[in-house]
């Protein structure tokens, strides 16, 4: 009898833990690193450092946006 109650309680705790874990995983918190790995940059790191941006753009130039040339004034 005691074992049955204990098992039920353990199952409930397990279920709650699984639900909490799922919620954490679904929110992205568990899979998202807090600190960048070696050689990785965050958005802010790159977009606040002009030299970094320049170097990156020099190494990998942005594709030129195709645009037709209009003439005169519209």
């Amino acid at each position: 009898m005691t074992n049955k109650i204990l098992l039920r309680r353990l199952a409930l705790v397990g279920l709650l833990a699984a639900a909490a874990l799922a919620a954490v995983v679904m929110s992205g918190c568990s899979v998202e690193p807090v600190v960048a790995d070696e050689g990785e940059y965050s958005c802010i790191q790159c977009h606040t450092d002009r030299e970094l941006l320049k170097a990156d753009l020099k190494a990998d130039p942005q594709p030129v946006k195709a645009k037709a040339v209009s003439a005169g004034e519209g």
Partner: protein, 383 residues
Amino acid sequence: MEADIAALVSPEFFDTVHGKMDCRYCHNGVKFAKTRAVAHEGMEPLPSATYAKSVCAPCHKKITDTFATTLHADTRGVSSTTTAQVLKRANPAGMDAVKQGLTKNCDTCHVSGCGDCHVSRPQFNDGGFVKGHVFYKSPNSLNNCMGCHGSRIEKEYTGKGESTKTVLHADVHWSPGGMQCTECHTAKWMHGGDVYDARYDAPQAPKCPDCHKQDTAFMAVKMHAQHATPESKAYLQCQVCHAQDYNNCTSCHVALDKNKLPFFETKSSGFDFNIGRNYDKTDSKPWDFIVVRHVPVFEGTFDFYGKNALTKMDAEPTWKYATPHSIQRVTRQTKKGCSSCHDNRDIFLTEDDLAGLTSDEVKANQPVVVNRVPQGVRNSEEE
């Protein structure tokens, strides 16, 4: 603008409300990455493009709910396949060509999101942060408004135009006034809510008397007493006296280049000044005489998509009501008193100005043409 500066976020941004948010709240993308390609996977560069459904909506709902109704959002008066003004000139058999031109060319000109006015230069001009991603409430005239409104407004308002007939100055509201566009073109108007197809139909469009009250001091000016009231023998739009020369364009045609990208070409443009008869009197345009500007449409505008698309060029004037942004107290219409205009054929739209136009276009402009230029006045009247 160099790409690195265009995308450079200033430290000040992080002190602002928007700067406290995770970049990805608005832009998606990847938190940490070794390459630009990976960092930008799934990234949304223009998160405000969908207005009511955009990331701006939760906080700026009142604005994002109505912005889609504005002409900045869809330029429907110019480019809609159901309400564009040019449809009045269309040949029913050439309607497909007109609609292709409207869709593939004219409709490409509109703002690409809230950001075009509040964080970046317009995407139409390839964008780029104005203040390092710091958002600003009032658009900047030079960086935002004139990024698109360049040929007419920028040139007129900032005095960049050139006329063969007179020396032009910047609009007095700009220099020395220093007024930004938003002081007349208010946020309430720009953010929409009223539905209309042409900007002059907007109930909130600015009017000179909003600031220049027609009070005793105003009426003490003799010319105002004679020409600026509904009782005047010749009731004049304010710009008839106070606008300097302004830009006029002719013969615009639209097409696609070899890469199927849209472009336009106008045959000519130039600064001039013409007073015409008010062919469309309404409560908001009650004057007898108005300033008219030549608009660039002509019968061959949509030739690329099909010949004879605009066969009803007599349907509407091509010299149209205008509100030039070239205001000065003293202009070539005022500096010599009455004789500046009276007997001065050059500043009126006359038959001479229609030379070279097709017979349909000549016919269309008959309600605008001034057949009898006002006669000279005696010196005593001029004083």
